[in-house]
Each structure stands twice: as C-alpha cells, then as structure tokens.
Symmetry: C2
Subunit: 332 residues, 2 copies
C-alpha cells in the first residue's frame, strides 16, 4: 500500500525531462550556430556567431551562445564539431584543417565544469546522420547512411537507431575510401583517389578541368576560364543546356554512385540520405539508377536514396537529440 501511495519521483523526473529541450550547437569552420531542440525539431530561433580563431576563443564563443538560452530550462548541451571525437570523453582526438589547434580539446570536460549540465560532443557528420535517421519517415529503416557532400565528404552510420562509431571513433570517414587505382588524384588529406577528391566540390572542378581540356569556347562557354571555374558555373551551365557541363555533372553522379556502391556492399543499408551544399545539384532518380546498375541485385534493390529532410539543421538537431536520448536512457 505504501508503495502505491508514494510518488514515483524517478518516473516523474523522467517524464518532466523528456519534455525539456536540449541545446544543439553546430561548430563549423565559418560560424557557430545554436538552437534549442525537442523531439528532433528546432523549437527556438537559431543564434549564430562567426567562428573565432583559436581554441580558447572558440570555447568563449560557445559559452556566449549558450548564455543566450539562459531562459530555457535545458536537459543538456550537444555539440556537433568537425574532427574525430571520442564520444565517451568528449575530447577532440582528430584534427581538422578548418579548425586549427582544435585537436586535443577536452570540450565536454571544460563545458560541463562551467555549465553543470550534461554535455555531449559528436563529430558533425555523425550528429547529422543521427538526426536524419530519426525523422518519422525513416524510423523503420534498419541501416541509414547519411552522406554529406560539400568541401569534403562525410558520413554518419545509424544501425537500428544507434550511431556506429567504429573501434577508434573514426567510422564513417567515407570521404577517404579509394575509388580509383593508380594514384590518379591527390586528395587534400595527402592520400590518393579518395572519394572526396572526385565527389566533393574540388573534385567536380577537377573533373571539369580534365573534360574541358582541348574544348574551345565555341563548344562550351565553360572553356573560357577553366583555371578558375566554380561548381556554381558548372551546375548553372548544365541547367542552361550546355552539353559539356551536363557531361561533367553526369560524370560527377558516376563518382558519387561509386562511393555509395562501396558503402552498400559493405553495410547493405536500406537508405542513403544525401545532404550538404552540393546535394541540391543531385538528380536523385539518375543516382538511384546508377547505384542499382552497379550493385548486386540483393544489395541494390533495397536502397532508397533521399535528399536530406533537415539540411543545415541536422548537426544542431542530432547533437541535441543525442543528449536528450542519452540523458533519458541513463535515468530509467
């Protein structure tokens, strides 16, 4: 009897916490953005500041952003950052060109000491993948791989709703799978023929420069300024009907399909989500056909390829949502 009468404080605490938002922060090379998140959705305005130089200034910037959400009662803070992150300790363990000096930062420890609430730090592609795989339409998928196409290529692998991080926190570094033999293209990482040397922004430009060799301006206006050609010019020319540009864009789709095919034959996912700045230029029907064409039937037939539903918000949402989920799962 006494049990039934007493309040189950733990349960009430859990219910209350499940309705509290978490703060999501996306730390990029250009700016830092923050917003409160509940149920995989942003529920406040997004605040942003330009990314400062140096470790201490970045941490100051993050704290400044967090202070703007003082009025919100937060369950915790999730941070999506470039670089490889130890998901247990929240330390940045792999450097990234965009954030010099960031490697080695014990970010979770520093912030938790100042804030007194749980902080989770996650690689940005992982955070984005976590959010994308949690949208309603994908909740029944078994394995969702989110591929971010931008200045590089990143990946986030979610199996049965859980992030897969690998033995050394570096799973999903899909930009550096090798898609060609014989050292054809040097990647910014120093390795040859990485997927991102073909599929990311720089890759599209290099493909254009190769295919435009010997092409005259009369044949394609793109030939005018090959050395300083941009991805915008290429995609715009393709949309405007330039056949050379369309050939470049088609070749780019082949390169993208090549990497997806490799992931597919290893993981056999039932969904790829494509996101990042370049994803808007993808012809999804063409890409799906190419992947099916280059896959074993059993592997190819089960894959849906989707455009991101969350786009630039995915990092903020995923990092915050991860904190909410972690918090609740440890307080059953």
């Amino acid at each position: 009897m006494s049990k039934a009468k007493g309040l189950d404080e733990t349960k009430i605490d859990k219910i209350a916490k499940s309705h509290m938002p978490a703060l999501g922060i996306d730390l990029g090379g250009t700016n830092i953005r923050a917003a409160a998140v509940r149920d995989n959705e942003i529920i406040t305005e997004t605040e942003r500041i330009p990314t400062p130089d140096g470790r201490d200034n970045i941490i100051e910037g993050i704290l400044e952003l967090i202070s703007k959400f003082q009025k919100d009662v937060l369950v915790g803070v999730g941070i999506a950052t470039a670089g490889i992150v130890n998901g247990d300790t929240g330390e940045i363990i792999g450097s990234t060109g965009n954030l010099p000096g960031w490697s080695g930062t014990p970010l979770k420890q520093v912030l938790e000491a100042k804030l007194g609430i749980p902080v989770h730090v996650e690689n940005d592609a992982n955070a984005a993948g976590y959010a994308e795989a949690r949208i309603e339409a994908l909740k029944r998928k078994r394995c969702v791989v989110t591929v971010t196409l931008g200045t590089g290529i990143g990946g986030g692998i979610v199996m049965h709703g859980r992030l897969f991080r690998g033995a050394n926190w570096a799973a999903g570094e899909v930009g550096h799978i090798k898609i060609a033999l014989d050292n054809k293209r040097l990647c910014t990482c120093g390795l040859f023929d990485c997927w991102e040397a073909y599929g990311a922004g720089r890759g599209v430009i290099q493909t254009a420069q190769e295919l435009l060799e010997g092409v005259t301006e009369a044949q394609s206006p793109l030939a005018k300024n090959v050395d300083e050609i941009t991805t915008y010019e290429i995609f715009d020319a393709g949309d405007a009907g330039d056949i050379m540009a369309q050939k470049i864009v088609n070749r780019w789709h082949e390169h993208i399909s090549h990497g997806l095919v490799n992931i597919a034959h290893i993981l056999n996912p039932d969904c790829f989500v494509i996101t990042g700045g370049l994803s808007e230029n993808i012809d999804f029907r063409l890409l799906e056909d190419m992947v099916a064409d280059r896959s074993l039937p059993r592997v190819g037939e089960s894959i849906e390829i989707r455009q991101s539903a969350l786009q630039g918000q995915a990092g903020i949402i995923g990092a915050a949502q991860f904190v909410s989920d972690e918090f609740l799962s440890t307080r059953k």
Copy 2:
C-alpha cells in the same frame, strides 16, 4: 525459504546445455563437411561427403551427415552455406553460382521438421567471421572484419561480438565493392571492377596476363603459357625469385589493400582477419604497411591484420557456435 530449497530447473538446464556441443556443417560447392563444436572448437572427427547435384540431393546429403552424429547429444545444428541467407527464417534468398537451384530453399524449416532440434542457417563468410572473432586473442576487439580470399572474396562483419547482417541480409558482400573507375575488368557477377575481379584467384591471373604482355620467356618463365597460367605457378615463381612474378604478387597486395582501405574508412575496424585458400600467399607485413600508407592516420593506426587462426574450420565452428549462443541467449 521454499525458494532456496527448490532446484532452479531453468538454470540447471542452461548449465547442462552450455556443455552440450552443436553440430556445424559447411556446405561448399565441392563438399559438405560436418563436425561437433563446443566452446568455439571442433571436438570430433570431421565427416565429409562430395556435394551432390540439386536441392533435394543436397538436403539428403546433409541429413546423412547429421545421422553420423546420432550418438552425440546436440544442442542444435548450424549450417554455413554459400549464398545470401535470411538469418531469421533460415531461407536461402540469394543464389550462388556454385550451388545452382539452391536459392529459395527453406533450409531451416525443412531440417527442423525432420530433426526436432534448433537449426540455424548462415552465409558461410558470416559464419567464418563469427568464429574468427570469437577466438581468445580477439575477444576484446570492437570490430573484426574477416575477409575470405578464394575463388571470390567474402566478408563477415562482427561488431562487439555480434554479426552485422545489414538491412537485407547482404552486409559483408565486400567482394563487390568497386575499386576502379572506367569499367576496366568484368566480374563474374556481371558488374565491373569488383574487388574480387582483382583480388580473388581469377583476378591474380588477369593481373599476371596484363603484366606479362610483351614479356619474353627469357625474361620470365611465366611468359611460357600465359593463357593457362595458374595462381600456384605465379606464387611459386615469386618464391623462386622470378622478378615478374614478384611484381604480379606485389600488385595483388595493392589490390587487396585497396579493398581493405575502403572497409576501414567506412567501419573503422580494429582487426582484419584474412582467410581462404589465397591467404597463405599474403605477406602480412607488406599488406599492413600498404593499408596504413593508404589510410587516414586515425583509421590506419588502429588496425591489426591477422592470418586466420581457424582457416577451413571457421565455417563449421561459426555456424555451430552461433546455434549454441542463440540457444543459450533465448533460454536465460
């Protein structure tokens, strides 16, 4: 008091069962082998019969083999087979060239009806990977990928001790990741530039034929009969000091490393186990150097590449062990 006095039948049952062997059966294109397995080790003689033609004859053959173990009290039967297998229903859902007509066989259902004990059917590369990852030396690894090099290339992915099968039971079809651009080599599966078109037996031969073009018999004895060259001749010539053969073998190592690098950047495993007929010809130090050379530091530094500890026994052991583990996990 009464509780402490009574026997915990479930617990006793579990202890008894954990000491009972399971029967492991490896169904290959050439023969079917069977042995009893306990604690990831074969504890009886291995019985074998040549693989008969046709679905019904194969099933008869399997039953004949099982009858030879009637004296053993078995916890169940595990079968490792080529082809893609639905691990829940035990149905062969993907065909394989070596066992025509095998696809569509509801093997688990047929055998359980006849035997009255649990049967588990598993893809052979998965079964082998499961056994390899369970050896004492690898028990603390987080992600072990076993790669079988033979007439084809197969893969078995074990994460934190559990097999990963993908969304459609086809995870680990690593032989069909694409390692080259531009449709250079046709694979037996009908796709171009699959890893196994370079790394499996046929691939080594094609590499030899390409590299030996224009080479005279005076330069290399291998040039004598290029059209009918075998992998044995190539590896033997390499061991005997033939420089052309060594070049072919080195190139083969590059091809192998290429596929491993792709798996590594997706899964970030801490161990690769290399098995199968061709694995004896691997120079493991060279291969480890090549993989490290072609990987991001964080990915490459954590990978151990090992020769199989179980070799041809791994399929039998893995299939049987899986039954034991499943059986015990469902009877807690």
